[in-house]
Amino acid sequence: MQVVRHVALSVFKESVRDRVLYSLVAFATLLIGASYLIGQLTAGQDVKIIKDLGLAAIAIFGLFIAVFIGIGLVWKEVERRSIYSLLSKPIRRHEFILGKYAGLALTLLVNVAMMTAAFYVVLAYMNTQASDALRAVWPAPAADPGMLRAVALIVLELLLVTAIALFFSTFSSPFLSAALTFGLWVAGHFNADLRNFEVVVESKTAAYLARGIYYVLPNFAAFDIKAQVVNALPVPPTYLLLAAAYALVYIALLLTGAVLVFSRRDFK
């Protein structure tokens, strides 16, 4: 366990120093700023637009961080052969994989936290600018803590994406891993359409196949409750718990797969 923690901390240190991260965070912050400008132009609806944009930006930037660091994490160590000296230390291969995952998860958490903080600052500022009459027509207050539920699900989604990227990176090149991870992400968002495929096709086998794929593919759409929280619609706590359980089981399976692949392979 200690070993996993040390590997994770080194990943965190290295990714914080890799300036790619800073630029992404800066970019996200800029985007939130831009959404504020848009808000200035569209009186009344502005707070909703900013919430939509802000949450989407957190999800997208988190996605890019998860994929672009995730695909390189293991691959880079193998390719540059830094793994040679590391694995000659008292560390098991599964500890290496878990440490890498935990490190990237930590990096993501810190980044999402920073983006969320910036987001709430913008919203709090909006609140001070709005008139009482305007506030009265908002479906929810500007700096609504209820939105943290959407952020929490975004975090779960990102943890799942990270596990997918890490899984692919244990045996394929970054380019392929990125393509596969993004592919799964897109497929996972439009997954729901597969469930009711029989409506569109005649063939029973095609429908069963589609249903099968639906259950195997990660169901990313389930983590998207942005619209609900922005419009202050109810989100049952059991839904959040189920989504969390789903993500955790999926992540556990992916990490197990990554460990199995990684433990058997030769380092060239």
Binding site: Q2, V3, H6, S10, K13, E14, R17, D18, R80, R81, S82, I83, Y84, S85, L86, L87, S88, K89, P90, I91, R92, R264, D266, F267
Partner: protein, 321 residues
Amino acid sequence: MDAIRTEALTKHYRVGFWRPRPYVALDALTLEVRQGEVFGFLGPNGAGKTTTLKLLMQLIYPTSGRAEILGRPVGDVAVRRRIGYLPENPYFYDYLTAEELLDYFASLFGYAAAERRRRVASLLDEVGIGAERRLQLRKFSKGMLQRVGIAQAILNDPEVVFFDEPMSGLDPLGRREVRQLILRLRDRGGTVFFSSHVLSDAETLCSRVAILAEGRLVASGHLSNLLAFQVRGWELVVTGLTEAALERATTLGHIARATPLGAQHYALELPITVAPDGVLSELTACGARLVSLTPVRETLEDYFVRQVADAPRERGLGTGT
């Protein structure tokens, strides 16, 4: 208990994308290295030295055969606490400093922070990295990375150290420092197993060597006892040698070849069958004077060339000789 023991250790790689076929990188290597030895693992490029070390570190898995370190199968985490490994052309993390890297590796051994600081500082002193220790590793030259690599290999006061080409990338001074370091490790009772493609690295250091060519062990033992490196003759350089004296010695079969270096000044090759002192006194009796007498040995490089020329073979499966 031996420090290192391999039994018929074999590694095949599959090469070729469309029609993969096995390539024998290491062919049934059986080797024993005793504790406290400095053992040279020699062979030309591509002989299979790095492959062997990677098998011992379980960075790759053998096709067949077994390997043990300190009496335990390779890959045993408890054994990892007692060994150190310098990879060939080591590379680490761009964004960590030398200090941070060593601290990170030390943490994997479970040392507390104060202990880590102490070890890291003294190690960096030992391998001669001064103020650069606070620099990120991406700014390090090859030679400096090699030094960091050596430092991380001896971080845990290992009982057995594996060095893959420890001298590569170092200047003559650096090579001498590494040589001294290896002897210090030996004096502390450690075992050092190092690979090299340069014979002179081994000559002054090793108690025993193994010589690998084309994936096969071709010789092992003490360097001076290895048949290939026995004295094969003598080179005698003399001045004041008359043509008549030269001709007589040649007809007696005492001189295999004479190369004139100047007036009455010759380099003479004596066959191993004659005693050089006898020939020398015979020539000095005729008025010649000795300039130098040196034994002729085959170099590791010559030896390799001959090995490869003697037994040319395809390193595929089934086509070996």
